[in-house]
Amino acid sequence: MKIKSQRDFFSGLMFMAVGIAFAWGATSYSIGEGARMGPGYFPLVLGILLTGLGGFIVFEALVVETEDGEPVGKWAWKPLSFIIGANLLFGVLLGGLPSIGLPPMGMIVAIYGLTFVASLAGDEFNLKENLILATILAAGSYVAFVVLLKLQFPVWPTFITG
């Protein structure tokens, strides 16, 4: 059997997988009955519903003709990994990672790290421009979030502030 719409086929599979996972997870909580629903009742019903919908989407993807097969297309690994990576690096630098003994480096360092890694996701990379941008963002964020809004951010690395 040929897949007529790749996008629908895979999204259907995704919905089915998530639906089954939620329904299966729901059975570990008490289900109860209509009048006294337990915490598992609503997720179980929704999980089954989602699985059904996913199954229907997969079926449709195998049967209904489309013009170009609606391919999923190539994954943009470069922007994907750099954007998500920049985000994760920000979290690690800001809050530290006790499991590997990395102390919190604070907001300023985290902003430089994020800007640097995020910029690698683009087509062109210019170190000087990047440093200027990071400096502007760091200064702006410091003024807006720390000075004006008084948000509780670790600003500097803990080994400097103590």
């Binding site: 997720p43 929704l46 922007p79 985000n87 902003i111 800007t115």
Partner: protein, 503 residues
Amino acid sequence: MDLVANLMTGFGVAFTPINLLYCFIGCVLGTLIGVLPGIGPVATIAMLLPATYALPPVSALIMLAGIYYGAQYGGSTTAILVNLPGESSSVVTVIDGYQMARQGRAGPALAAAGLGSFFAGCVGTLILAAFAGPLTEVAFKFGSAEYFSLMVLGLIGAVVLASGSLIKAIAMIVLGLLLGLVGTDVNSGVARFSFDIPELTDGIGFVVIAMGVFGYGEIISNLSQSEEHREVFTGKVKGLFPTKDDFKRMLPAVLRGTALGSALGILPGGGALLAAFAAYTVEKKTSLAPGEVPFGKGNIRGVAAPESANNAGAQTSFIPLLTLGIPPNAVMALMVGAMTIHNIQPGPQVMTSNPQLFWGLIASMWLGNLMLVILNLPLIGMWIKLLTVPYRWLFPAIVLFCAIGVYSTNNNTFDVWMVGLFGFIGYLFIKLGCEPAPLLLGFILGPMMEEHLRRALLLSRGDWSVLVTRPLSASLLAAALALVVIVALPSIKAKREEAFVED
């Protein structure tokens, strides 16, 4: 005339220089903070609440109301300019607003949002003043069965928001509902689907999903296209203000949005949000004038209607708060907190025991709206300038603001990991042609729906027919069913697809 006398009392209170000043400060602060992506009215009010402790009660509430409107308007600005809904009710604005910005029409979009909101705010204030009493009686008629049915209708309505396949949109709603259930179950205290992660017992944050799916997903998808094909913004900015044509199209949309918003805002449970979705649904159902841009491609009505609706809804959502003492949403819950700090017990007695405060607050809402227009129309030019910043500088900044916004909601790096995960999921959705807007609505309504369904069935002793034997509930469900049939009918389906064919 009671109404006039009451409003006079109100304006007498609000028009003192000191209260005008607080209202203005509130609007300015609210707008400035609301413009930051990921920080919506709830976060803004929560942050600025301590600043109002020292003020007299009336001034404190007036300033908070100003912050609320400012933040709401600021949220729309980011929604239109950078495709980031800072709060749930601007999710709809994103759809057409961002498309307008891409086509160089950010100015008219912002003006439409501002003017529509102002008009809706005026009407909402009048309704609030005139009908606060009688309208609460309608809210009393709504039992759990009715709420559940209303939400079903709202969710089905959200399906038409998606421009692609109907069944995928429904699946996205269900997925959203399920995501909304993650966290502690209010009835039994059981932490569901939390994998023993303490942070997950509070549920997944709205901001986390919105930033990840809309913000990161969009950026990754944009960057994956080569420079020429990148649909970011056209360099040309066509006019700052709406043209005569735009006004002609906006006007009926604003009127419809205002009417819907005022009606739905009274209902506790996310009135402003449902209003925005409903208004967009209605606009999409009306026929397009010849030469008009289709919805989802930058139609000005798609900005004007939901923006008016959510502002009218925001206004009338004060009714259940001020008359019943029931906060209809998180912002109002914070307002209750602020009132109790100042020793005011919200509820029906406020109107009689504290008329100065009640009417003063209502008058200051109108003033807040006026100030927002005055404040924001000249600022449009400045916001537009923001769009001329090259994309290679803009996207790291957006990533940064998302990360900071997400971190600041709970001061916890766990949310930063979660937004990364949802960024990946958002990109996956784009790749698979699944639209995220219905998911977000499902996510917000999920816990409420479950709660009302449980309550309705508990009262009926497990008899499901309660949903159709109560007339109000039955008619809401019938409307939902009719909507499905209309959308699913082949002839209309063909038309629906036609409307979304790329030019």
